[in-house]
Symmetry: C2
Subunit: 111 residues, 2 copies
């Protein structure tokens, strides 16, 4: 049985081995980026959770359409600079905001 | 007219000023995390684009269901450790993969 390579040994147990070094290299980068994305999203939800609590405590309105519009415009600009499709950046933002609203509603239903 | 604070001066022009320092602090963190997320997503799409080109060149099948299953299982574990809802992590992964497929189809239609 061949000894697993340095890349291969980092793979998950359930994933079948891949012998193509270029594919392995790219997949390894994707896995690293995904781990970073998950951790940043966890941190982002901690912040939005804190915003939710703060707004509830100070009786501030939950939604802020002007803020959202400014966020979308900024993310589209950042995406353009990073060579990411600005439409995707906006879709991503809306996807995350939908989850934030779900969290806030769950929080409200609990209290 | 009051001089804008350090936080305030970082805001976008289109966003109305906010005088609540705690809200500003949290929003500033959200904006920093969003910028990081956009840049990581840009990098991730560069990798998946390269995977697409590599697979096309070497006549490898575009889809790899076993790899996808392993990715989802790993991201759910990472999310759990990071105190992020694992169901959201899986939804996020599927959202990104949908975009990757859209990119690959656009690439195929161009060639």
């Amino acid at each position: 049985m061949p000894v697993p390579s340095a890349y291969e040994s980092q793979r998950t147990n359930s994933e079948p081995p891949v012998s193509d070094p270029e594919l392995l290299r790219l997949r390894n980068s994707i896995d690293n980026l995904d781990a970073a994305l998950i951790h940043l999203l966890a941190e982002r939800f901690k912040c939005t959770q804190a915003v939710g609590v703060h707004k509830a405590l100070h009786k501030l309105p939950a939604a802020d359409p002007a803020r959202e519009q400014a966020q979308i415009a900024r993310l589209r600009r950042l995406a353009q600079d990073a060579k990411l499709d600005p439409d995707f950046a906006e879709k991503f933002f809306n996807f995350v905001v939908k989850e934030v609203i779900r969290h806030h509603e769950a929080l409200r239903n609990k209290s």
